[in-house]
């Protein structure tokens, strides 16, 4: 149903899109990192697209991803980007949806914030920063949202140790 959105996007921003795919009936467009703001602005402002509802933003850590049926050479490896940032958008006017994905390398995990375009992404980008350490450049208030300020590291990264604790207080008679 939203295939025409992908077609319109490819026609308009062919050079900004790495590839498009359909996953379980959802249309996904992989966007180049430096073109994200331009694509997102067009998605919101174009009357035929009119994406007015930010649904969610999250991140996927592909550190230990071993996909079924994909040869190891094509899976994510060290030289391929480790993080996928994932934006889901919806148009309440046209009732269509699209998912934007941006691949980010481990040593340079930053991209342009979409909060200036959809203000609803504000807290969710903070959550993604809190849990995965993705830097959203241009975000008005990029602080941790769940964890305390003293917390070191990003807990939902796959290399964060499962049993690591960072206590704020402990009983003095136990230490």
């Amino acid at each position: 149903m939203s295939k025409k959105v992908l077609d319109a996007l490819v026609a308009k921003f062919g050079d900004a899109i790495e590839k498009v795919e359909q996953v379980h009936g959802d249309e996904v467009a992989w966007i180049k990192r430096d073109k994200l703001t331009a694509v997102a602005t067009a998605l919101r402002d174009d009357a035929a697209l009119a994406f007015d509802a930010p649904v969610f933003v999250t991140c996927i850590d592909r550190l230990d991803w071993k996909p079924v049926g994909v040869p190891p050479s094509e899976a994510w490896t060290e030289d391929k980007p480790r993080f996928e940032v994932c934006y889901q958008l919806r148009s309440t006017k046209h009732k269509h949806r699209i998912r934007l994905k941006i691949a980010l390398p481990e040593n340079d995990a930053r991209l342009a914030s979409l909060t200036p375009i959809w203000v609803g992404f504000d807290w969710q980008e903070r959550e993604t920063f809190d849990m995965y350490g993705i830097r959203f450049e241009g975000h008005p208030d990029l602080r941790r949202i769940y964890m305390y300020e003293e917390f070191v590291g990003y807990p939902l990264r796959k290399d964060y140790p499962k049993d690591k604790r960072q206590p704020l207080v402990r009983r003095p008679d136990l230490v």
């Binding site: 964890m147 807990p155 049993d163 604790r165 960072q166 206590p167 704020l168 207080v169 009983r171």
Partner: protein, 184 residues
């Protein structure tokens, strides 16, 4: 410092507990007898165990039969802290502060397996039991515990209070002895 000196003079812990219990019998035990039947609870409710706490407090199980029916929502007016539900590391300072503000002698019940050990939460945020931050007198297992278990725990706590061996009672006693020793 004074605590170690005092304990060494008293000998082993079993003898110390026996002595405390003996001192809490008869007329000397009347304050503890009063305490155990007039617990003012502060429910520190963070999660689903709160439903079971409400059930215990409601007429069907009726914690009022044991004199502990009156929840006070100020720690300064309460002497029984019920930690009901999962505690996360971020809440640690708040829980510690609430406990510090309570009236002495004070008692703590860890209500449910999350408050006791962290339960099935084994991750970056959940505290592995609220006894990491405050001393706990009675642990109630269960996810969530049955109301009967809570009443059982309350009776256990009452016995502990009567014997004068609650954490807070023992600490007060040690402090008194340490002061008396310092005065000599």
């Amino acid at each position: 410092m004074g605590v170690e000196v005092t304990t060494s003079r008293l000998g082993d812990a079993a003898a110390w507990a026996k002595r405390v219990k003996e001192e809490s019998r008869g007329l000397k035990g009347i304050p503890n007898w009063g305490r155990k039947f007039s617990l003012f609870s502060y429910p520190f409710v963070t999660a689903c165990c709160g439903m079971e706490f409400m059930s215990v407090a409601a007429p069907k199980y009726d914690i009022a039969r044991f004199g502990a029916e009156f929840p006070r929502f100020s720690p300064r007016q309460s002497d029984l802290l019920m930690v009901v539900g999962t505690i996360v590391e971020k809440q640690g300072p708040a829980l510690r502060r609430v406990w510090e503000q309570m009236a002495e002698p004070k008692f703590v019940i860890a209500f449910g397996v999350c408050a006791s050990t962290g339960g099935f939460y084994q991750n970056y945020s959940a505290m592995p039991g609220c006894d990491q931050v405050i001393p706990v007198d009675v642990y109630i297992p269960g996810c969530p515990p049955r109301p009967e278990q809570v009443l059982d725990a309350l009776i256990l706590l009452q016995e502990r209070i009567q014997d004068g061996i609650g954490h807070s009672q023992l600490r007060l006693k040690r402090e008194q002895l340490a002061h008396a020793e310092a005065d000599e």
